[in-house]
């Protein structure tokens, strides 16, 4: 690895000042499971690495029925899947936090870092898009909020400007009769990168028989995570049925624009989007019905 300086700011304002002072030569680090590999491999370069783990706001993990979930950008996966409020209210998020890497990676890697790393295959991004997550950003010019579906702009690229940091994610409190799920396809049982992944959330009416709304998001099938609005919107107002789910899965497949690579082909990935959309919708429906 090239020479780096390392800083451990204790506040958001100190971190922003440090990041701004180095412009695009500064890299934020939480668990380091992506950025250290990239710096060592020469895929990224930086003069200053700013450790975000000692800033209180980036370690916050709190839930209230009014404000939903505040997930600090540096909170590691294990804290998320051990948290009772997350287990009770966001099983769709647990799905992702508990399958990223192995136990060693989950001890360090954060969902905020997964989002900033902006890999098309990032497993935590589709479920957060499905759950209407919002990114809370602070920079030299103050605070701004960006819907998570607009955060990633290309492979490894995101909306953060020089000096800006991702402070936290906000996920609205789940409504009654809602449910979510994330599934990915990998050829192994653990420790692999998604060939394709789908996160869905559904809101049903009180009878549990009709969709009020749905959100569907896809991993590993485009340069960025995909928010398939057409697929989710196609379910709104419809009765829960295999036909409606099939139609939504076809719309999701139409939004998948994958490439052929060593992990899978275009045809396989589009097929997988269809399968995983149907499965995650059925799982989300079951959760929405209290199952």
């Amino acid at each position: 690895m090239e020479w780096i300086d390392f800083a451990t700011p204790k506040s958001v304002s100190e971190a922003v000042e440090m990041m701004a002072s180095k412009g695009d030569r500064a890299r934020a680090m939480a668990g380091g499971t992506d950025v250290l590999v990239q710096l060592r491999g020469g895929r990224r370069s930086a003069d200053l690495v700013v450790d975000m783990k000692e800033i209180p706001e980036l370690n916050e993990l709190s839930y209230s029925a009014q404000n939903g979930l505040t997930l600090g950008a540096a909170v590691p996966c294990y804290r998320i899947y051990q948290d009772k409020a997350v287990i009770d209210n966001y099983p769709g998020l647990i799905d992702a936090a508990s399958l990223i890497g192995g136990i060693q990676i989950q001890g360090r890697a954060s969902i905020g870092g997964n989002l900033c790393n902006a890999a098309p295959s990032g497993d935590s991004i589709p479920p957060i898009i499905a759950l209407s997550g919002v990114a809370n950003i602070t920079g030299p010019n103050g605070n701004r909020q960006v819907p998570v579906e607009d955060f990633c702009t290309g492979p490894g690229q995101n909306v953060l400007q020089n000096g800006e940091i991702l402070v936290s994610l906000t996920i609205p409190a789940p409504q009654p009769h809602s449910g979510a799920n994330y599934l990915r396809f990998i050829p192994r049982n653990e420790m692999d990168i998604a060939v394709a992944g789908v996160g869905t959330s559904v809101l049903l009416d009180a009878s549990g028989q009709n969709f009020v709304s749905a959100r569907i998001s896809l991993a590993s099938v485009a340069p960025t995570p995909v928010f398939s609005q057409a697929a989710g919107d196609s379910l709104a107002g419809k009765a829960v049925s295999d036909e409606a789910i099939q139609e939504a899965s076809e719309k999701a497949m139409a939004d998948a624009k994958p490439i052929n690579d060593m992990r899978g082909t275009v045809r396989q990935r589009v097929h997988l989007v269809g399968v995983l959309t149907r499965r995650t919708l059925n799982n989300a429906i079951q959760r929405a019905r209290g199952g």
Partner: protein, 157 residues
């Protein structure tokens, strides 16, 4: 030396001080600076788990931690398991079950398994296999390793 950081940390219950560059991983610091070579380098990018240590109570790949992050922290490495009285039950079970061949992955497996058994004394095969998914072994085919961890969990009760 300019740019070199003094790190004060606790390794296996003892205070350790070392000097390192910010770019050096905890793995490099343990092996090349502190001289504790029990922790092994395998892939050096977080895939193989050979460099697993218990850091702040969680198992981590020490190749994906910077040495400077150890400031004020506590960690356990493979050197911290045996006592003057004898081997740790996991080490004993690995020997008895012949759960190693070349041995490069073994410290990582044993430390990772300790991280599991410290938290969950009651484990079944599926739990052990899931927990150890981040540790790769190219010799044994894993069965003997899983058996050794289950055996140790019985001994430790």
């Amino acid at each position: 030396m300019p740019g070199v950081t003094h790190v004060q940390t606790t390794i296996n219950g003892e205070e350790v001080n070392f000097l390192c560059e910010p770019r050096q991983s905890l793995l490099e610091c343990l092996r090349d600076v502190v001289g504790m070579t029990g922790t092994k380098e395998g892939c050096n990018d977080g895939n193989c788990g050979a460099c697993t240590v218990i850091f702040d109570g969680r198992i981590v790949d020490s190749c994906l931690v910077l040495g400077v992050e150890a400031q004020g922290k506590e960690m356990t490495t493979i050197e911290g398991l045996a006592t003057p009285e004898g081997l740790h039950p996991l080490q004993q079970s690995f020997l008895e079950q012949a759960a190693l061949q070349c041995g490069i992955c073994t410290p990582g497996f044993i430390v990772a398994a300790k991280g599991l058994l410290d938290q969950e004394p009651d484990v079944d095969e599926a739990r052990v296999r899931h927990w150890l998914a981040g540790n790769l072994c190219r010799c044994t085919g894993y069965d003997k390793i899983v058996r050794a961890v289950l055996d140790a969990s019985q001994k430790m009760k």
